[in-house]
């Protein structure tokens, strides 16, 4: 019999793991601080 797997299980199995050392890109905003934060 065919049993439908729960999406979470599929998503977990099919989720491609990030390569070792992967650094997510910085959020686009807010930008860098040029002097100091008040």
């Amino acid at each position: 019999s065919v049993a439908k797997r729960a999406v979470a299980v599929v998503a977990q199995h099919d989720k491609v793991p990030h390569p070792v050392g992967f650094v997510p890109p910085p959020p686009p905003c807010p930008g860098k601080i040029r002097h100091f934060e008040i």
Binding site: C29, P30, G31, K32, I33, R34, H35, F36, I38
Partner: protein, 253 residues
């Protein structure tokens, strides 16, 4: 398959920095009080396309006050940012720009400036003097005394007060009132002014000569006054850099 929408602009992207620089120059050129502000951080940016080479850009900017008075001819890049210990002042600005064929123009801007909290300053620098209210009696007395002292000693034009830029008061270990104020030359020499000061009027725009004074009045443990005034010389007003400004919607508190 329709082309994927362009990635949202990042706050540190070159295009965002160009928009922010244009906005800061606009804000300083439109301000007539206080000091020049410089960019500290691009808080947020949104770009909405209106068609080919035609975008509306919304910017949220964090600015910091510099030590350059707004009327000073010093280029912004040469202006020192007021340090934390000098009781920094921050500006928050929302600017709406249009970018048409690669050229920016400001459609509206609104700014609000506020000094850093006294607690923050004292936490970093317990003995630092704090900003005082500009209508504080000691501040007004220091400004009046300093300007009269300058006018009584100068051989140049008699100066009139334009505005008090900032003031701070220190109570320990000495009681010191420090003030900074903008001045303008009048059509009198300081000598003429002694006879009829009411006749001394600010020079017309085509001859205007603005300047700035810094003074320190020591009240305790001994009385002392030091005044340093600098006139910029006549500056030909810069016309708008060929950009249309509509609905400036600009105010600063």
């Amino acid at each position: 398959v329709p082309a994927a929408p362009p990635a949202p602009l990042g706050c540190d992207d070159p295009e965002s920095e160009a928009a922010a620089e244009f906005s800061v120059n606009y804000i300083n050129s439109r301000s007539h009080h206080g000091y020049k502000f410089t960019l500290n951080r691009i808080e947020n940016i949104r770009k909405i396309s209106q068609g080919p080479n035609n975008d509306i850009v919304f910017l949220e900017l964090d600015l910091l006050e510099t030590t350059c008075p707004i009327l000073s001819p010093t280029p912004l890049e040469n202006c020192t940012v007021r340090s934390f210990a000098q009781h920094a002042v921050e500006g928050d600005c929302d600017v709406k720009l249009q970018k048409l064929d690669g050229k920016f123009s400001v459609l509206a801007s609104k700014c609000h400036s506020h000094a850093d909290s006294s607690e923050d300053v004292l936490q970093v620098c317990p003995d630092c003097p704090l900003l005082a209210s500009l209508n504080n009696t000691e501040v007004l007395t220091a400004v009046t005394t300093a300007l009269n002292d300058h006018n009584s000693k100068t051989t140049d034009a008699y100066l009139r007060l334009l505005e008090i830029g900032r003031a701070n008061i220190q109570y320990a270990p000495a009681h010191i009132v420090s003030v900074e104020f903008a001045v303008a030359a009048t059509n009198c020499s300081a000598e003429d002014a002694k006879d009829n000061v009411e006749a001394c009027q600010l020079l017309p725009d085509d001859q205007s000569n603005f300047g700035f004074c810094k003074a320190t009045m020591v009240k305790q443990p001994s009385q002392d006054l030091s005044v340093d005034c600098l006139l910029y010389g006549h500056q030909v007003p810069t016309s708008d850099p060929g950009v249309t400004y509509s609905h400036p919607g600009y105010d600063i508190s």
